[in-house]
Amino acid sequence: MKITKEQVEHVANLARLNLTEEEKEQMTTDMEVIIEFANRINEINIDNINPTAHIIPINNVFREDTVNPSFSRDELLSNAPNKENGCFSVPRIVE
């Protein structure tokens, strides 16, 4: 299956990756090979089979709604690349 540079650019945008021109070229070649390999699963007809998301017999997991200690603001901000006044800081998004 042919993968085009436009498809790579579209998927990179969905994945929020700013690929360089060189990366785009390499990715086009790599994805073509990998998707061709993955397409082996399309060689069999299994329309009537139910999909399995994970294998153990657990469905919904409920717990009592109780108050427990949580992390302090400082702890949670300790790894932030940029913070201000006790908040995560990002570029302005509303003019």
Partner: protein, 486 residues
């Protein structure tokens, strides 16, 4: 008495009889690391100063007659994708180069409660994606048996550290073979327990429906000991399975007479190195001598497991890794125009080549127009694979296979060919897809004296049968007396 060569259960006996102290063990390991780490490069971060203080604390407690945990004074290493409070957890990525978790993974709390002494955090393929450790942002780990070869991956540091006697045991994580394949390459025991058996809380997520933490040890008895310490229900992990877990050491030494072993012919195809097939067949013969019944079976779905695995794992990875956006923690790009550009630039600079490849594949497989053909279809294949395992386990206790198609390859040999690299996982991924437990252990060497692994697989929550069979084999195996180069 060479402490670094001893297993955890041997050290435990000597500690309990006060023949040696925790400080003795820790010092021996620090010396060993000083001596060989520059050649092996198994660790990313060393915590030897804290380790010594911890060992002293345990010796004090022992002197006072306090009750100690099952691993008190045993020196260990942890793969660098499990959160350690106050100690860097990098996932071998530039993205998390300076990340210091404010909490411990559940497995870390459990090991701390049992008194284990942490020597450091171990190298891996970035975000656990890879089969050679060549995808680490920091450095390559070498195979202690031959320093020009890879240790396997992604838990390559965890396997190399045990093989080079740089830790008594280690923890790794296994999404498609990341514990068992490096155990096979480095000649150690490695186990992926049943999905849901060990809490994933604090394990940096790769593919959530497949990821499972497990130990790498020097022998099978240690495997049982460490599993006892880390398994169990955890309310902090909603995929953790709530049941009473047995004592894995209890039935370890029972005889295996009458156990039924299946050899699936698809795992002995032309793609498997002939020496590997030969040694694995020898294991089957040995088990037969010990009273097991061995039969050949067929598992037709085996070929579909690898493509289904790469679709499912990449799709889940693309979703899990969306959190690395340069805002809450981790790397942030220096130059960007606006918020979206900050995300894009941060992710392009922070992730390595293989991680980006998987994110792209996963995003593609989940994108509009392709979801049914790829992600959903792969989930349907998962049903077929799981059913096939269930069917074999109706008649058999164990499935016996090679752990990988080849022994450890040379550094750089496969790095530019993604498909060839992915093929290394061909014998291990079906197990993750079916969610069942499997163990790899050494069963001989190839003509280059590189270790060969045999894989024992059993049905879900049946770790004890695997351990029993593996123990019986270990007690009776006949291996040449060769040791790692280092």
């Amino acid at each position: 008495m060479d402490l670094i060569k001893m297993t955890a259960h041997e050290l435990k006996d000597k500690l309990e009889s006060k023949e040696i102290s925790s400080v003795d063990i820790t010092k021996s390991y620090i010396d060993r690391i000083d001596k060989v780490e520059s050649s092996v490069n198994a660790y990313i971060t060393l915590t030897t100063t804290q380790a010594l203080a911890r060992a002293e604390e345990i010796d004090d407690k022992r002197a006072k007659g306090e009750t100690l945990g099952s691993l008190a004074g045993i020196t260990i290493g942890i793969k660098d994708n499990m959160c350690t409070k106050g100690i860097k957890t990098t996932c071998a990525s530039k993205m998390l180069e300076d990340f210091v978790p404010p909490y411990n993974a559940t497995v870390i709390d459990k090991l701390n409660n049992e008194g284990a002494v942490l020597l450091g955090k171990l190298n891996m393929d970035e975000f656990a994606m890879g089969s050679s450790n060549e995808n680490s942002y920091f450095h390559k780990t070498m195979n202690p048996w031959d320093l020009t070869r890879v240790p396997g991956g992604s838990s390559g540091g965890s396997a190399a550290a045990v093989a080079a006697n740089e830790a008594v045991f280690t923890l790794g994580s296994d999404t498609g073979g990341s514990i068992r394949q490096p155990a096979h390459y480095c000649g150690v025991v490695g186990m992926k327990p049943t999905y849901g058996t060990v809490s994933r809380y604090g394990l940096v997520a790769f593919a959530s429906s497949l990821d499972q933490i497990g130990p790498l040890t020097k022998d099978v008895e240690d495997m049982a000991l460490v599993l006892n310490a880390i398994t169990g229900y955890d309310k902090l992990d909603s995929s953790s399975y709530n049941k009473k877990y047995e004592d894995f050491s209890e039935n370890l030494k029972k005889d295996i007479k009458g156990k039924k072993v299946a050899l699936p012919k698809e795992y002995f195809s032309d793609g498997i190195q002939p020496e590997i097939k030969e040694k694995v067949i020898d294991v089957a013969k040995k088990l037969e001598e010990l009273g097991a019944i061995v039969e050949e079976v067929s598992m037709n779905m085996t070929d579909l497991a690898l493509p289904a695995y790469y679709l499912i794992s990449s799709a889940e990875a693309s979703s899990n890794l969306a959190r690395y956006d340069g805002v809450k923690y981790g790397y942030r790009a220096k130059n960007y125009d606006n918020l979206v550009d900050l995300y894009k630039q941060t992710r392009d600079e922070g992730f390595g080549k293989e991680v980006k490849r998987r994110i792209m594949l996963g995003t593609y497989a989940l994108s509009s127009g392709y979801y049914d053909a790829y992600y959903k279809k792969a989930q349907q294949v998962r049903t077929l694979i799981k059913n096939e395992f269930d069917k074999v386990f109706e008649k058999y206790d164990i499935i016996l296979t090679p752990t990988g198609p080849s022994t450890a390859f040379k550094i750089g040999e496969k790095i530019n060919n993604p498909i060839e690299m992915y093929m290394n996982d061909i014998c291990t991924v079906p197990i993750n897809i079916a969610g069942v437990p499997a163990l790899s252990m050494n069963c001989g060497f190839d003509s280059n004296n590189m270790p060969i692994g045999v894989q024992f697989i059993s049905k879900a929550f049946n770790e004890s049968t695997i351990l029993q069979m593996a123990y019986a084999y270990e007690q009776n195996r006949d291996l040449p007396n060769i040791t790692p180069q280092i």
